[in-house]
């Protein structure tokens, strides 16, 4: 028994404690902004946070809040409250939970700090537009919308011009709300830190190319928080350096995220926040490790398009061509690239009722990947926050059957 505990202890990621400290300090800072005279902006997860950092505005992420609500299993209660307010149960559960929190300061941290402004970038969905309109009416604060035209088959020159001019409008909006000039020198530094943070985050994710993978997607879901909320700060850079070093050390020592990694899987879509532990244990019990995912890697997708020396100039493209704002075929292409890069044996797709842009089209991605790569996939029907859409027995049966397929495939592979 003692040995077993020791192995378990060894597998625990040490940086977790540091991460919790940073996030706690961040939320205390944000919740006390009123006393310290700092301004607070609520911003979408795919939104341009760097100009906020450059303006000393504290960015707050309602989507991160939604994830916390889900993880603390408060989703059903808050979703039901939203439904009582008239919001359909078919709407995004992040939005429902957050909208229900606002008037009652509910949720795990007693509500988010009151915003001075709202920044909504629709590169992830049309839902955020409606959600932020609701909050702009509720809080009676200015709303800036960064409209990033969808790239079905490419990024048009018209779209580039449009988004570029909106970046300037965004800066003017911030100057107006903050009553101070934008610091173009400071944004260069923030931009540099943002890119460095993204590179480090990508490097952390890439350590899973090793066998065994030193971290799993379930770990990535947790460590993701800083690249979302503190992108563009020295703190995020420092943290990911520590995390990367720890992962490299684990690789050197052969420490895996799970005890016995046999199958390597790719996760698609948002996490099922209220069931991450259950899912993680379930896959581990089958010796399956989720070595990569399309979700946490989205926060370094901009690295393809960014120019560090012209951060503001390339911001338009970085924000428009993100994973969710591209066509289904291009998404399938990226899934296959990841499948190769991380040498995965199978793909787990979360069909997420809350997220239509992520989920509609998954069946086609599944088909494309199966046809072109012959990689088995499994579809899990659930929701990221609303646990009423999670059927444990059904999902368990699906996962078990999927692992059987992988087993058969591996056996055949050996026989050949």
């Amino acid at each position: 028994m003692a040995e077993k505990d020791e192995a378990k202890e060894k597998r625990k990621i040490k940086a977790v404690g540091r991460m919790k400290e940073i996030m706690t300090a961040y939320y205390i800072d944000a919740k006390t902004a009123e006393q310290t005279g700092k301004k607070v902006a609520w911003i979408t997860s795919g939104g341009p946070v760097e100009p906020l950092i450059a303006m000393d505005i504290i960015p707050v992420y309602p989507e991160n809040h939604g994830a916390m609500i889900g993880a603390s299993k408060m989703g059903i209660d808050l979703c039901e409250k939203a439904e009582a307010m008239g919001y359909s149960s078919d709407l995004c559960s992040y939005a429902r939970a957050d909208i229900a929190c606002a008037p009652i300061n509910g949720g795990p941290i007693g509500g988010l700090p009151r915003p001075d402004m709202l920044i909504c970038c629709n590169n992830i969905c049309g839902t955020v537009l409606k959600w932020y309109e609701v909050q702009a009416r509720f809080f009676k604060v200015p709303l800036f919308i960064l409209d990033t035209p969808f790239c079905h088959t490419g990024f048009s020159s018209e779209a580039r011009r449009y988004v570029k001019s909106q970046i300037n409008e965004y800066i003017a909006f911030l100057e107006n709300v903050c009553k101070k000039k934008f610091d173009y020198d400071r944004i260069k530094e923030v931009g540099r830190l943002s890119v460095e943070g993204q590179r480090l985050w990508q490097a952390v994710l890439d350590t899973t190319m090793n066998r065994p993978a030193p971290l799993s997607a379930f770990d990535a879901f947790f460590h993701l928080a800083l690249i979302v909320t503190l992108r563009g700060t020295q703190q995020a850079v420092d943290y990911y350096r520590i995390l990367l070093a720890e992962m490299q050390e684990r690789v050197a020592q052969g420490i895996g995220a799970i005890p016995n990694e046999k199958y390597r899987l790719l996760w698609d879509n948002l996490p099922v926040w209220y069931r991450t532990k259950w899912l993680s244990d379930k896959f581990a019990s089958h010796d399956a490790c989720l070595v990569a995912d399309t979700y946490t890697s989205a926060w370094c997708g901009a690295l393809r398009y960014v120019d560090e020396d012209d951060f503001i100039g390339t911001m338009a493209e970085c924000h428009t061509r993100i994973y969710l704002n591209i066509g289904v075929d291009e998404m399938a292409g990226q899934v296959m690239e990841m499948a190769d890069k991380y040498a995965v044996d199978g793909i787990v797709m979360h069909s997420n009722r809350s997220c239509k842009p992520y989920s509609l089209g998954q069946y086609d991605i599944q088909r494309i990947v199966q046809e072109k790569k012959g990689i088995p996939t499994v579809m899990i029907e659930a929701d990221m926050v609303d646990a009423r859409s999670f059927s444990e027995s059904q999902i368990e049966t699906r996962i078990d059957a999927f692992i059987e397929v992988l087993k058969e495939k591996t056996k055949k592979g050996v026989n050949l």
Binding site: S156, S165, D364
Partner: protein, 373 residues
């Protein structure tokens, strides 16, 4: 009215109508999905815009591409395409609308081989100078791309002719709605639905005079004999594929005197300046017309419009007609309802998937509502 018979024949089987029209006129049939589709440019290119709703046939093939939480409009249209019922289409145009239509476009492009495929990625916000410029830019690009697909160069004169035609159609539609709102007895609600729906399907050069004839007939029509005055109702929502709803409201003692529907007044609100540069003028109408909830202008524009419309039409109540899984409308519903409550206007909501709830149920709800107002 004989014009209504003609419309009913068109709607009895819209795809057969389109196929026949195509054979007779040699016009290219272009499927569209949204009231923001620039029909004028399609007509100017010698094409025929056909709004697609799905025919409500049983879903067999679309299930392999779409999850259960996708609206029946998207599912039905894809089903028709996959089953070959739309193989007569020369192409489709997908104006950017909502998250579901956006993905429908991708799925269509990857699975439907016949016909050309054009995405028209419109701005989502419509209230800034850069959005206006972008809208003009993408419409100009669309003009070139569509011309290339249809093998024509679209001239300014072509555009002006199409714009004039659409002004006639929209003007007549607005007049018909105005007249029926003023004197509800002159046209049944389900007939109004028929006309509005036909306007998205029928040969537009036939449609314009047909609607104008109806206007002059309605102008001459004697009003309803004095009896129990029906309660005046506004319909609000997205796509309404159910003519029965008008009948059920009438049977319950109400009458629809106006609407804020995608398949209603939003499709014909606003005329186009015939003197201005044509593409800029088309853009101007799209920016100024009554807004869809998937787009953004002011924070309370839709509520302001709905309250204003209700007062203008002297309506006593609003019925929200919500298509299940339509996110933009579902997000707006609570604030629209609250705005009506503040203005002292009663409202009720019904959510519909692909068919209306069983007759009796809806009837009872409408009766209770109409009795209350």
């Amino acid at each position: 009215m004989k014009q209504l018979d003609e419309c009913n024949r068109v709607l009895a089987d819209t795809y057969r109508y389109a196929e026949r029209f195509k054979a007779e006129s040699r016009r290219k049939i272009v499927g569209t999905f949204c009231s923001y589709a620039p029909d004028e440019i399609i007509v100017a290119a010698g094409g025929h815009p056909l709004r697609l709703f799905g025919t409500g046939e049983k879903i067999r093939l679309a299930e392999a591409h779409l999850q259960s939480y996708c609206c029946s409009l998207v599912r039905g249209a894809l089903e028709d395409a996959l089953s070959g019922r739309l193989s007569f289409l020369d192409g489709v145009v997908f104006p950017h609308t909502c998250d579901s239509i956006q993905r429908l476009s991708d799925i269509w492009r990857l699975n439907i081989a016949h016909g050309f495929h054009l995405d028209l990625v419109l701005p989502v916000k419509l209230d800034t100078p850069s959005a206006r410029q972008y809208l003009v830019d993408v419409l100009n690009r669309f003009r070139v791309e569509l011309g290339a697909k249809l093998g024509v160069a679209i001239t300014d004169d072509d555009l002006r002719t199409a714009i004039a035609l659409y002004n006639r159609i929209r003007g007549a539609m607005a007049q018909i709605h105005q007249l029926t709102g003023d004197r509800p007895g002159i046209l049944k609600g389900s007939d109004l639905y028929t006309l509005t729906r036909t306007a998205m399907i029928m040969d537009r050069t036939r449609l314009a005079p047909l609607l104008e004839e109806i206007v002059s007939e309605l102008e001459r029509a004697p009003g309803e004999a004095a009896g129990v005055e029906p309660k005046r109702i506004i319909l609000s929502g997205g796509v309404c594929n159910h003519p029965d709803i008008y009948t059920v409201i009438e049977e319950a003692g109400g009458t629809v005197v106006g609407d804020d529907l995608c398949t209603g007044s939003r499709s014909f609100s606003g005329l186009i300046d015939e003197k201005a540069e044509p593409i800029a003028a088309i853009a101007e109408r799209l920016l100024g017309r009554v807004i869809c909830p998937a787009k953004h202008t002011g924070l309370t524009d839709r509520a302001d419009h709905l309250v204003r419309l209700t007062r203008e039409k002297r309506a006593q109540g609003v019925v929200f007609f919500l298509l299940k899984f339509c996110d933009p409308h579902a997000f707006d519903y609570p604030y629209l309802k609250a705005a009506l409550d503040r203005a002292g206007i009663a409202s009720m909501a019904i959510e519909v998937e692909d068919r209306l709830p069983a007759d009796g149920q809806l009837q009872t709800r409408f009766e209770a509502f109409i009795e209350m107002i």
